[in-house]
Symmetry: C2
Subunit: 446 residues, 2 copies
């Protein structure tokens, strides 16, 4: 490897300099507060797991998509976690019957994929995972969807910007059954429905025919992949479009009613083309998209009632979703919700910036900084050697500090100059009062 390579982050990973880190913390802060306000408890697991944990659910073919390794001299095979669900299931299984009902957990883990990086898909990313274990009724589905929307709303997005597109695997299986898909062909049929948008007309038709469907059934299958209905719309219109009875869509209607009751109708659209690629979903499935539709899904989730069993636990109904930071950052940027720059507007603003114009001022700076910071005040100082107050204060403006304090000749009377940089005013104040003055002022800033 060329020696210059060590100066770059590995391909598909990111260096978070302060402005970009401020964006990340802004997003994580919304995730965490939405999760906590919604009554979820935060958890975390190891960054890597035994490799076997991933092949249980996804088979051996997942190995090539993982970063896997052994310890030198060790036998155990490990892999960097590509997703959080297996860790969640493992942790739930380990607790067994001592797990409360419901168990509501969220996590904000880093994930890793050994794939070629693409727009919206990197080798390392951060994902918000929200899960409810132990509830089989639709209240849990509504709970996770409303938690996802709460975070997006706190980040500035509204129902005019993003939509939850949702369906129900049970209802869709009935629709496909009515088209003539046999039980044995159901899983491949669902996968075909999932891939519909990424296939040509021709490929889709030949694949559908391969499932044993006649020409008219293929056409209706195609329609099912495109059928959408506002949550407030008439379900009988949808059942007519899909060529099934209203009862076939009972499960879809259940989740629809729950979301209507919760007052979330504006944010949601029924979309029978939503399947979610993974085989383990058993009921509600949903994805959240930017209405403009330029990016991949912002979030995806649903119900997976067999998952905990798959990892050796008791039968445990479960539902949840994952929301990654990469696509969400792109969407927020496109909607102008991350300020004007690359995150600079989100950097924490210093409450006070200290400058000194005398030697005595230099000497008094360190204890004053300690006192301010002890009071919970974000305090910075100039390290420049100039004694010119104008030059010294330029840095305070650049950092968007709210106040500046000049330690100068006034120290002979134990006083300093306090400048309010937002109001453009200044006054001489007793050094002994300074911490309290700034602290009071900070409390009044909204």
């Amino acid at each position: 490897m060329a020696s210059s390579d060590i100066h770059k982050a590995p391909k598909g990973t990111r260096d978070f300099y302060p402005p970009r880190m401020a964006i990340r913390r802004h997003i994580e802060g919304a995730w965490r507060s939405a999760g906590m306000d919604s009554g979820f408890d935060e958890i975390e697991g190891p960054m890597f797991e035994h490799l076997d944990l991933y092949t249980v659910k996804s088979g051996e073919e997942i190995i090539s998509q993982l970063f896997s390794f052994k310890r030198e001299g060790g036998d155990d095979l490990y892999a960097l976690r590509p997703e959080f669900t297996p860790t969640l299931a493992r942790m739930a299984v380990a607790r067994g019957k001592s797990l409360p009902t419901p168990t509501k957990w969220f996590a904000i883990p880093s994930h890793f994929r050994a794939e070629r990086p693409q727009r919206g898909r990197l080798r390392e990313h951060v994902q918000w995972n929200v899960d409810v274990l132990g509830l089989s009724d639709g209240s849990a589905d509504v709970e996770v969807i409303s938690t996802a929307l709460l975070a997006l709303e706190r980040l500035g997005l509204g129902p005019e910007d993003v939509k939850v597109r949702l369906s129900h695997r049970g209802s869709i299986a009935k629709v496909l059954g009515a088209l003539g898909v046999s039980d044995d062909s159901m899983q491949p049929a669902l996968m075909l429905l999932d891939r519909r948008d990424k296939m040509s007309e021709e490929d889709f038709r030949s694949s559908a025919a391969g499932l044993g469907l006649d020409e008219s059934a293929v056409a209706r299958f195609d329609q099912a992949a495109r059928a959408t209905l506002p949550l407030s719309g008439s379900l009988s219109d949808l059942s007519k479009t899909l060529g099934v009875s209203g009862e076939s869509l009972e499960e879809l209607d259940g989740i629809r009613t729950g979301l209507l009751d919760a007052g979330l109708a504006d944010w949601c659209v029924l979309d029978t083309g939503i399947v979610r690629g993974l085989a383990y979903y058993t009921g509600t499935v949903f994805e959240i998209f930017d209405v403009k539709g330029a990016e991949r899904a912002i979030a995806g989730g649903g119900r997976y009632d067999k998952l905990v069993e798959l990892f050796g636990g008791q039968p445990t109904p479960a539902c949840g979703f994952g929301m990654g930071d990469v696509v969400l950052s792109l969407v927020l940027q496109e909607h102008g919700l991350l300020g004007s720059g690359e995150g600079e507007d989100l950097l924490p603003r210093p409450e006070v910036f200290l400058v000194s114009t005398t030697e005595e001022g230099d000497r008094r700076m360190a204890p004053l900084l300690v006192a301010l910071r002890r009071a919970g005040i974000h305090a910075r100082r100039s390290h420049k050697s100039t004694r010119n107050p104008g030059k010294l204060l330029a840095e305070a403006g650049k950092l968007r500090a709210r106040h500046a304090v000049i330690l100068g000749e006034e120290l002979a009377e134990e006083r300093v100059i306090l400048k309010d940089l937002e109001a453009g005013t200044q006054s001489s104040v007793a050094l002994a009062d300074l911490v309290e003055l700034i602290d009071d002022d900070e409390d009044t800033v909204s």
Copy 2:
């Protein structure tokens, strides 16, 4: 591998169930707020780096202590990061001259070591890294030490609980030089001083003799490994003990004066036995210990003015420290600073817990939860099927909720029962006023 193994976290890693996660967030919160108030900007890097990044500083022998891997079909060798300093140096070098002076960065990364886990030392841990780049004077040393102490103080520790034990490599080199250690033997002599506490008397004496020291010099070397002085003590006493002139300790005196000026004397002790194992330290070195001394160091750091150059950058003075979560958690637990349990006391308390005793109550619960959470109120609900208010409210008590709301018969008049669980009072309130009532009450809770 036995199939039961997948139910365990890999050896030396941790599952963070909610109470333990609450401890982690409590610690990280103190780190972040102390870092931000002290004017440091948060950064992050990739979880793994090119393996070469670690051998640059530590040589090939570090490889066996790392988890290293390739991507299937890829050539690049990567390693999970064992520490943050190489990433920090890489990021600084990449920015070159556009880096501001000073650059003050902190990070809270996960680190990985492929060693045998021990008490206070795991295979995966979280570490707070705080660094100042670009300042060669002692103000930066004082700044990083005071930032470390600010976090410890916020976690409840005081100068009676923990001490910064500090020394200066420049002064120590002069002390060792006066004993007869040649320039060529200086690095091994420093490493011997560093290991003194872990060696037998005999091993130490023979190693010291191997450096060419006579018996009286070995005895004085031994004394240097044990000499301590309160910050407020007399430096001439220390110079006498060490058998050198006061001028030899000029650099040590500089950092001592800085800490005295900052008002941090109570927290600090000069200790010429502190060296820090790593070869790259060039000036101040310090470690923070529990006064009771039962655990490893809580933090360690110092000045490393050659580091950025080592990674191919411009000469850049630098100093900083790392503070891990494992030892710190043990120390806080021993001092009774994490509440009575395993973190339960640190779990977020629900502001309100909703129960329903009627079908209409069930139906009204979802929109009320959405409204409460939108207002930033931590709101949970019962999922039990009983209609017995006493049984329903028991869960609210267990979760330490501040309020409970009963959705019952009163809903016929659009009213609910609001219980203040701390005051033990209750009243019937209009549903329309509920969010505002709880929100106002939340604001008055300190």
